[in-house]
């Protein structure tokens, strides 16, 4: 099976974020980036499917030069080759524009399966994979907690609310977004890290993929951030004072009035 995994470089979960001067995005200099945590599970799932049979895992990422780091991590962890959409024309896009570019790159691979993370940890839109599936003309399933091969394609258990699962069958090729907890992602081994530099990493531009640059990146976007702000700090809670008994009485009163629990 030939599997594409879409991976995104996102700010480290504990990076200190600040809004930029035009309030359109965060200041992305001076912070650390990481592989979107959801995508680690997608990569692991792809590697397991490959190892159970045979085939190839191709990691694809759209992002600036620094995003090469997450592709190298994928190669070190076991992906066979990588495609990095780092051309300036691809940058600054919304999910629609990004899906356009990713779809064009993925078509060149002709995969049997496309795995994505459930959502990206930075904007949490969860839109790109579904748009991508439409553009590729493939069926899709989101929030996969289990993926099994069947005679006709794959069977996916989707996570619903309250621990419920929905099980769907899809023909291949298909796009599936992977939920965290589906597996336990491995670490890159040292041998994998040493081998990564010998693996292929392509960097096609719009012309190589036959795309009109006005359809991708900032130019091709329909969605714009125009006012990003840090949420106001919550007002400090109320501190009750007095004797233990007074405090207890005041506390019960407030719980009764404000929550209806008692």
């Amino acid at each position: 099976m030939k599997i594409v995994v879409c991976v995104k470089q996102v700010p480290d979960s504990d990076a200190a974020l600040a809004v930029n001067a035009d309030r359109t995005w965060i200041v992305d200099s001076g912070i650390n980036f990481e592989l979107n945590p959801y995508d680690r599970y997608a990569l692991e799932e792809a590697l397991r499917i490959k190892e159970a049979g045979e085939g190839e895992v191709v990691a694809v990422s759209l992002g600036p030069a620094r995003a090469a780091q997450v592709l190298k991590t994928c190669l070190a962890t076991g992906a066979d080759r990588a495609i990095h959409l780092k051309d300036e024309a691809f940058q600054g896009g919304d999910p629609w524009a990004n899906a356009q570019a990713l779809a064009a790159a993925i078509r060149t691979v002709e995969p049997d399966l496309v795995l994505c993370g459930f959502q990206a940890n930075d904007d949490t839109l969860a839109q790109t994979p579904v748009l991508l599936a439409e553009m590729l003309g493939m069926p899709h399933a989101t929030g996969a907690m289990k993926i099994e091969k069947t005679d006709t394609g794959v069977r996916v258990a989707r996570e619903l609310e309250a621990d419920r699962r929905e099980v769907v069958d899809l023909p291949l090729p298909a796009v599936i977004t992977v939920q965290t907890g589906i597996n336990e992602p491995r670490y890159a081994s040292i041998k994998g890290i040493m081998a990564a530099k010998r693996k292929e990493m392509k960097t096609p531009g719009p012309a190589d993929l036959g795309i009109d640059p006005s359809q991708v990146g900032a130019a091709g976007s329909r969605l714009r951030f125009f006012d990003l702000a840090v949420p106001p700090k919550k007002e400090g809670g109320e501190v009750l004072t007095g004797s233990t008994e007074e405090i207890a009485v005041a506390l019960v009163k407030r719980i009764r009035e404000n929550t209806g629990v008692l």
Partner: protein
């Protein structure tokens, strides 16, 4: 001169840091409290290639340079100093000398399982009367047919009980002063080999240390490492690499303690502001940051020199080990100081770092021994 890690070294650092934070960290306090060895975690480290770091791939190792090796140990020690010494000893004073001085059969039999992470190993040099005075060896090895018969006691053996291969230093010819010393590859299943009870240590409580008793221990002649009477060449060369490992461990311990101190200093308020904003605390943090960086650079320089010349790194390794180990004790002391009374509580990681730090200026050559090595090199010129 380039002070940055290359792409592979940085990726390795990141991987080992994630492994340390996600796999070693969760039970590190529990292991310290219970004195329990991290069997599953060390096996996992072996699968990732952390037990054969400097052994070439043809022998099942990871084929890393010494700089990468030091960087990896720093990240491990930042979280779990006990795991760091376990890995350092197995890599640098067990696997490495077998690779450097062993023959093909010995490498196939002992190095491959060590380097591929299936087993760990140790190194038996120290004896009750032979610590700093390491050449004052009493353990005897007498050849009888196709075996050597070893008698003696080795003390302070890291990876005792959990290790499956040990390099044992013993005297083959008592008449021949320094030249009469030889090295052997010994396994605990050989007749006459036994471990004593575990040492109750101040720190590194999740590493396993005990004496080894050799009572007519039967070691096949095929297990002589190098030549008979090779002397202190093998242990001293191994210790140069070992000292880089302990220097890296010291940098890691200091970094771990320092990070806790910085976090605490930002959160704890006294006299109406975070203590980090009192200059007396801020300056201690500045000193720690500077000293850690200095030790890191000394350690990486020694490592990089060893990559150029596997035999000529003695003084640089001694300097790195001396400075890093003493630095890590100073930093751990300050980290406790910055925590106030809480730094004295077992609930805070700095209390453990403080105990773990103490041994770094003692083992693999005390600070005094490092100063002997350094001053001899300086004054010889």
């Amino acid at each position: 001169m380039d002070f940055r890690l290359n792409d592979e070294q940085e990726m390795l650092r990141q991987m080992v840091a994630d492994f340390a934070d996600q796999v070693l960290a969760p039970e590190v306090m529990k292991r310290d409290r219970e004195g329990s060895f991290p069997h599953a975690e060390i096996a996992h480290a072996g699968e990732l290639g952390l037990l054969g770091m400097i052994v070439p791939e043809e022998w099942g190792g990871s084929g890393l340079d010494t700089v990468s090796y030091a960087v990896a140990l720093m990240e491990i020690a930042r979280v779990c100093p006990s795991s760091a010494v376990t890995l350092s000893v197995s890599n640098s004073v067990c696997a490495y000398p077998i690779w450097r001085f062993g023959n093909k059969e010995q490498k196939e039999r002992y190095l491959r399982p060590l380097a591929s992470g299936k087993i760990i190993g140790g190194f038996c040099l120290t004896e009750p009367q032979a610590g700093s005075d390491a050449t004052n060896q009493k353990t005897r090895a007498v050849r009888q047919g196709d075996h050597y018969v070893l008698n003696g006691t080795k003390v302070w053996v890291t990876n005792a009980h959990v290790g499956k291969v040990f390099i044992v230093i013993a005297v083959t010819d008592p008449q021949a002063a320094r030249g009469g010393i030889s090295a052997f590859i010994v396994t605990p299943d050989m007749p006459g080999f036994s471990f004593s009870i575990k040492e109750e240590k101040m720190g590194l409580r999740a590493s396993c240390t005990s004496s080894v008793v050799l009572d007519d221990c039967q070691v096949p002649v095929a297990n002589l490492l190098g030549k008979e009477g090779d002397g202190m060449r093998i242990p001293l060369n191994a210790l140069d690499g070992g000292r880089i490992g302990i220097a890296a461990q010291s940098v890691g311990i200091a970094t771990g303690a320092y990070e806790e101190a910085v976090k605490y200093a930002r959160e704890r308020t006294a006299f109406g502001k975070p203590i980090a904003q009192h200059q007396a605390i801020a300056f201690q943090i500045a000193d720690c940051a500077t000293e850690i960086d200095a030790a890191r650079l000394l350690t990486l320089r020694a490592a990089s020199r060893r990559d150029e010349d596997h035999d000529g790194v003695g003084p640089e390794a001694a300097m790195a080990k001396l400075y890093a180990s003493e630095m890590c004790n100073r930093v751990a002391y300050k980290a406790v100081q910055i925590h106030g009374g809480y730094g004295y509580s077992r609930d805070y990681p700095v209390e453990r770092f403080y105990r773990d730090a103490r041994v770094t200026s003692l083992y693999e050559g005390t600070s005094e021994v490092q100063r002997i090595v350094i001053s001899r090199a300086v004054l010889a010129g």
